[in-house]
Assembly symmetry: C2
C-alpha cells in the first residue's frame, strides 16, 4: 500500500470548505505528512485517520497556508500522550517558531520532538523500504518539494508490484523545467495549479503555476499520473482545472479532500 | 443588538466537530473576537459572518486552543486586502509570536496591526457606546477574562432597553470567588466548564472548572444567564453539562457552535 490522502487542496485563504495544503502519504504501515495548513488536525479527524501513526512531517516552506496547523497538531499529540518520536523537517526558522510557542505555554511534550532544518537538496529518510528526499522549487521564498521512492525488493521477493513506485510533491512553484530531473518518471506527481491558463501572468508574478503548466510539466517529466491542487480561492468550482490539464496530459486529476490516490 | 456567537466550544484537542475556543461579540455595528483557536477563520466562513468587520481581538491566554488560529486570521485579512486597523490584545509574548511568523514569510500587511500587551486588570476599549475591560482569572498560566459593558444612553434617548447590558467572559479558570466582583450582575456570563462534577478533583488540578462550579459561581455573582463551554474532548455528548448546571442555576445553557446568544 502506497497512497496519498488529500487533507487540504486550497491555496492561501481557505474557501468553499477547501482547507489549506496538507497531504498524508501512507506507505505500508507508515504515515508521513506533507505540509500542515491550519485545520489539518480537524481534517485528520474528519476523515478518521489514525494520525498518531504519523512519524515524519515535511514542511515545504513557511507561507502560513503550508504550516499554521503544525503547532496545533504537535500540541494535540502532547495532550493525547503520544510516546513515539516525531520528526519534523522544514526551512530554518521553523524550529524557533514552534519552540517559542511551546515555551510560552510551558508545554512539556511526553515525546521526543526533533525539528530538522532543510536547506539543501538531499536525502531526509532512508530505510529498508523507502527513501524520501527534498529538492528546491521556484517560489517567492525558500521552498522544497519532496520525493518518496519505494526501494526495490530483493529479487526473490518480487511480486507483480515489483517495479519501485514513487510519489513526487512539487509544493508551491512556478513552472520551471529545472525541476524535471527530480520528479522524472514518477508514478504520481503532485504539481500545484493555483490558477487556470487565462491567468498565467498573475501566476508567474506570484511564483505559482497554472493547470496547463502543470500538465506540460507532467508530460515533459514522463510521469504516469498528475494530481492538481493549491487552487486559488477565486474559484468556487474547480472542475476546469482538470479539464484544462487533460487537453495536454490526459492522466490528470484534481486532488480532492478526503480522497486517497494510489501511487 | 448585543450578542455573542459561538465559533468554538471545545477545550484543548478538537473533537466531535467541536472546535477550540472562539466567540464573536456583536455590538450594534461593531464586531469583537474573543480568543481565536485553530480553525476560527473556517468557522467564521462556515457561519457566513462578515469577519472583515472585526476591529478588536482579545486573547485570554497563550494556551494554543485559545490563539493558534490568530496568525491564520491575520494572514487572511492581509490576503483579502483589509484596510482597517486591527487591534489585538493579549499576554506578553503574543506580539513576538505573531511578528516572527509574519517576518519569516516577508508578509507585508496592507493594514495597521497593533498588538497590545495586557498584564494588569483594566480598561482596554472605551468609546461612546461600550467599555471593554480585562480581569485576571485563576489558571495555570497568566490568563484574563473580559467584560463588555454597554454604556447608559443619555436619558432623552432611553428606550425599553435602557438598562445597560453586560457580557462577562471568564476564559479558562478554576472556581474562584475572587472573580465575582468583576462579573457581578452581568446579563450574560460565560464560565468554562471543562468537566462534570464527578471530575472536580481533576478540574482543580488542571486549573479548570466543572459545570456545577460554573453554576454556583453564576448564582453567587447574581448574573441573569450562564453559558457553559470549553468542554473536554472526553465527552462525546455534552447535554449533561447544562443539566448539571441547571440543578443549581436554572438559566444555564451550553454554548453551541453557530448559535447566537443575546446579551
Amino acid at each position: 500500500m502506497f497512497s496519498v490522502t488529500i487533507l487540504g487542496n486550497n491555496s492561501a485563504v481557505p474557501a468553499y470548505e477547501r482547507f489549506p495544503t496538507s497531504q498524508l502519504v501512507s506507505f505500508n504501515g507508515d504515515k508521513f505528512l506533507i505540509d500542515c495548513g491550519e485545520g489539518t488536525q480537524m481534517q485528520l479527524m474528519k476523515y478518521k485517520i489514525r494520525y498518531s501513526r504519523i512519524s515524519h512531517i515535511f514542511i515545504s516552506h513557511l507561507h502560513g497556508d503550508h504550516y499554521f496547523g503544525l503547532i496545533g497538531l504537535i500540541n494535540s499529540f502532547g495532550l493525547l500522550n503520544r510516546q513515539q518520536d516525531l520528526h519534523v523537517y522544514g526551512p530554518s526558522p521553523l524550529k524557533k517558531i514552534i519552540e517559542l510557542q511551546l515555551n510560552v505555554a510551558s508545554t512539556r511534550l511526553p515525546f521526543e520532538l526533533q525539528i530538522h532544518t532543510i536547506d539543501t537538496p538531499g536525502l531526509l529518510v532512508d530505510n529498508e523500504e523507502i527513501k524520501i528526499s527534498c529538492f528546491p522549487t521556484d517560489h517567492r521564498i525558500e521552498c522544497f518539494g519532496f520525493l518518496f521512492q519505494e526501494k526495490a525488493l530483493p529479487r526473490k521477493l518480487t511480486t507483480q508490484h515489483s517495479a519501485p513506485r514513487s510519489y513526487a510533491y512539487c509544493a508551491d512553484t512556478r513552472y520551471n523545467e529545472q525541476l524535471l530531473p527530480y520528479v522524472a518518471e514518477a508514478n504520481l506527481l503532485y504539481h500545484e495549479s493555483t490558477y487556470l491558463d487565462d491567468q498565467h501572468e498573475k501566476a508567474a508574478l506570484r511564483f505559482h503555476a497554472t493547470a496547463k503548466q502543470a500538465a506540460n510539466f507532467a508530460k515533459k517529466a514522463s510521469v504516469k499520473r498528475l494530481l492538481l491542487g493549491h487552487f486559488s480561492s477565486q474559484y468556487e468550482s474547480i472542475h476546469e482545472f482538470e479539464e484544462e490539464a487533460r487537453t495536454i496530459f490526459p492522466a490528470s486529476e484534481n486532488a480532492l479532500q478526503g480522497v486517497t490516490y494510489l501511487v
